[in-house]
């Protein structure tokens, strides 16, 4: 199909519009000038200084630990949900109820989820100190919005698996646990990994849930960047944002490759 030149021009312009802000950040992460936006020449200094900035290093570590732990929780819960829902004869009503519950975290605006979590943690805090603002509470919050996505991805993989494999395993007298371990889970692995990758990226992408559940010692990179955007940006923030952006690029491209290969 041939495109009108105007269509191509608008498309390229729109893509440029999407990338222009990030390019500016990347450019200024190499600017020697500390204050203001005058160009003072090229430097790697800000990247070097990152490695000596304990606050930013801690935030980077928190971001990763949060993403890993919440992904772990959400992947286990989501896979169990998918297995239970997709491979058991719930009546139409039970099924509808379960599916609605799964879709809820997917369609709820993050601000509403954050408000709900704040209320939940406020009440739970009176009994369990775990729900004080901080990393454990953040893990719970992130896992809550990740779980639905993981379950939906794993369910779509389950739907695509041929029934004959299950039947063959059972005809050969596999017990349920043997069948799970040797047949279903290996077949399901690509779906589980894809769901986990999605959950991990969602966690890195989040700001709102972290903002409402974080404590003073559990700052993540997006929170630190937000705080300095309100106070005044330093070139170090440009550098750390550029690195986070590059990490996202790698993650997106490898996830794409992975889903292409296992599809």
């Amino acid at each position: 199909m041939r495109l009108h030149w105007l269509t191509s021009a608008v498309a390229l312009g729109a893509l440029a519009f999407l990338y222009l802000p990030m390019l500016a950040v990347a450019l200024f992460s190499f600017n020697r000038t500390r204050h203001g936006l005058g160009w003072g020449g090229f430097t790697w200094d800000w990247y070097v200084r990152l490695s000596q900035n304990p606050a930013l290093l801690e935030a980077a570590q928190n971001t990763l630990v949060l993403a890993l732990l919440s992904t772990l929780v959400a992947t286990v819960l989501g896979t169990l949900l998918a297995l239970g829902l997709e491979r058991h004869p719930f009546g139409p009503r039970g099924r509808a109820l379960l599916e609605t519950t799964l879709y809820l975290p997917v369609v709820t605006p993050d601000l509403i989820l954050a408000a709900a979590l704040m209320v939940a943690f406020g009440f739970l805090r009176q009994a369990f100190s775990l729900f004080e603002p901080g990393l454990p509470a953040m893990v719970v919050g992130h896992a809550t919005f990740q779980v639905g996505f993981v379950a939906l991805v794993v369910m779509s993989r389950l739907k695509s698996l041929p029934r004959e494999l299950d039947e063959a395993a059972r005809d050969l007298y596999a017990t349920y646990s043997l069948y799970l371990r040797r047949v279903l889970l290996p077949l399901l692995a690509p779906g589980i990994v894809a769901g986990a990758m999605l959950a991990f990226t969602l966690s890195l992408d989040d700001f709102v849930i972290s903002f409402f559940t974080a404590g003073p010692t559990s700052q993540t990179l997006p929170l630190v960047i937000y705080a300095s955007a309100r106070r005044g940006i330093t070139p170090e923030i440009h550098a750390v944002s550029t690195l986070l952006f590059l990490f996202t690029v790698v993650l997106v491209l490898s996830a794409e490759r992975f889903t292409r290969r296992s599809a």
Binding site: M1, R2, S8, A11, A14, L15, F17, L18, Y19, P21, M22, A24, V25, F28, L37, V76, L77, L80, L81, L83, G84, R87, H88, P89, F90, G94, L98, L104, T108, P109, L111, I112, A114, A115, A116, M118, V119, A120, G122, A143, V147, R163, D166, A168, R170, L204, D205, F207, V208, F212, P222, I225, Y226, A229, S241, T248, V249, V252, L253, R260
Partner: protein
Amino acid sequence: MARVLVWYGELATARSLVWRGVLLVLPGLLWLMAFLVLPGLVLIPLSFAERGPYGEVIWTFTWENYRRLLGFGVLGFSLDNLLALVRTVWVALVTTLLAAVLAYPIAFFIRAQHPRRRYLVLSLVLIPFWTNIVIRTYAWQLLLAPEMPFARILAALGLVEPGMALFPSSLAVYLGMLSAFLPFMVLPLYSSVERMDESLLEAVRDLYGGPVRVFLHGILPQTLPGLTVGVILTFIPAMGMFVVPDLLGGAKHLLVGNLIQQTFYTMRDWPYGAALSLVLILLTLVALRLYRRYGKEVELA
């Protein structure tokens, strides 16, 4: 007598199978109940409660939060809240419309690529989609700073004062919102555009249809499913957005999202925050309902 059935090659009673299913879904279900469904429901009675002097909740029944929401505050009547509501819907609508206008050319551009390059160009849309919203938003602060070309050009044209940043402003909010949500529109739209039958466009052209007719009678009906998903994915989160208006809009451009954030986070006034959240949920449900009704019409057509 128990009903026995063969289920995926397994001979078992229906009851025992359902029990195993319940055991499997139970942890996740309880999790979602405890952290999403129940606290979401608690927002309803909470919105009729009162804030105590230390930010604690006093369980009474009062319409005060809703009166305040409509503008009858301690300092007398003010239109600020209602304006914020109207502004929220308006900003979300404009963002959605602009995103749709830009998403069509991008989707067609991707479709026109050689199949091997398509995935690469599609990734160009996926990457901003997955980049953290805070980074993408503060990056606009950088672009709109007084030393940068945009502000200089506008100053040279006499449209703004020299040395002024272009934010906070409503222009900055729209730019930030558009760049935040454009990928949400492109991705579902592209999935429709990819499957489009081009011969129908030819048919419209053969009947001497101009570009407008080609779009209305050839492209739009075929891409409506993708477009509606895109509209939902843009409009609903746009109404709940607070990062963009917060960093690029300033106090004059508050949206409902900012009000919710301030009441919950800064003022620690949960009952009032709950009332505001319920309004946002209501707006979301109205949007979804309109979409459903519209979606049904599409199926009939």
